[in-house]
């Protein structure tokens, strides 16, 4: 591989269309090879199941989580692995305490962690209530013209946009940029 090609593939950030096409192609390919709908968020139920193997909660004992080490967990592990490979090939730092604008703006690690934990909690709860996340609803669902996914995605975007401005105004007094 030439140095220029390596640079384009692994160092320089991909243009939006290249990433979009790559991600989009995974939807039909997942059906073609594995008859599986693209989706991540349900897999967090596998992790909860593994953390509480004796839980009597009905949802955790549903057939979806009968095999907690099933494909969803493997798919999730794959995402970590793929991003790890991308970051190694791009020679980025192995571990970093930074999180872009958030930590660069002087917000302490503790406050950042609290904000991200709370955000993650709402992501987990919201995705389960809505029946999917950005991949399952917004990409897989809309591509298949599912009305529930179109509604969910409109809610994701509107609510996210509103919450963003509220957080910026209330927490950071108007801006972190």
């Amino acid at each position: 591989m030439s140095a220029a090609m390596f640079e384009t593939l692994f160092i320089t950030r991909w243009p939006w269309w290249a990433g979009g096409i790559g991600i989009g192609l995974l939807v039909p390919l997942l059906y073609l090879f594995l008859n599986t709908a693209l989706g991540v968020s349900t897999g967090y139920g596998n992790i909860v199941r593994l953390l509480f193997p004796r839980s009597r909660l009905k949802w955790l004992n549903s057939p979806t989580f009968a095999e907690p080490f099933g494909w969803r967990l493997w798919f999730m592990a794959g995402i970590v692995l793929g991003a790890f490979v991308a970051s190694r090939l791009g020679a980025q730092s192995l571990l970093t305490a930074e999180m872009g604008i958030l930590t660069a703006s002087g917000v302490s690690s503790g406050a950042s962690a609290l904000l991200l934990f709370s955000g993650g909690l709402l992501l987990g709860l919201g995705a389960r209530l809505a029946g999917g996340c950005t991949s399952g609803h917004s990409i897989h669902g809309i591509a298949n013209l599912h009305m529930s996914s179109i509604i969910a995605t409109i809610a994701f975007l509107l609510s996210g946009w509103l919450a963003f401005w509220l957080i910026r105004t209330l927490l950071f007094g108007g801006g972190v940029s």
Partner: protein, 157 residues
Amino acid sequence: MARVLADTHLTLRRWCFVKNLPFLVFGALFGFFLSRVGASDYNLIYRMFELTDLTLAWVILTAIVTAALGMRLLLGARTHTFSGTRISVKQKPLVWLNAAGGVVFGVGWAMSGACPGTVLAQLGEGKLLAVATVLGLVTGTYIYAVLVEKWPSLGKS
């Protein structure tokens, strides 16, 4: 020796290695793409909501269009997977929870600058703070399990 082999075989079967390896490969491609295009970059999500850099919105839109065209081609050409399973695209039910849960999700999206998939890519990139987001996701999912136990109507989506 035979015993060790038998044990290893059993462990492998239990972890369904062979059956699940393709999912690891697909996940790795997904994670690689997410990382290379910058979907796991906190700043890009921040700028998208700020409406100052819509790169990620274009990524999502391109992905939707590509996936839609790909599904058309696929379903026009084949009815079964390579291994002979009938391809079935299941539609998620349309309920008010799609919007209500979506609102909760949106707030989480803005607060964490990530979604359930991209946060895993952040982990792979070695971003330590992503651990907090993942812990939040696991907690939120557990809270859902508790809520749906009490109010089964929340489980319709």
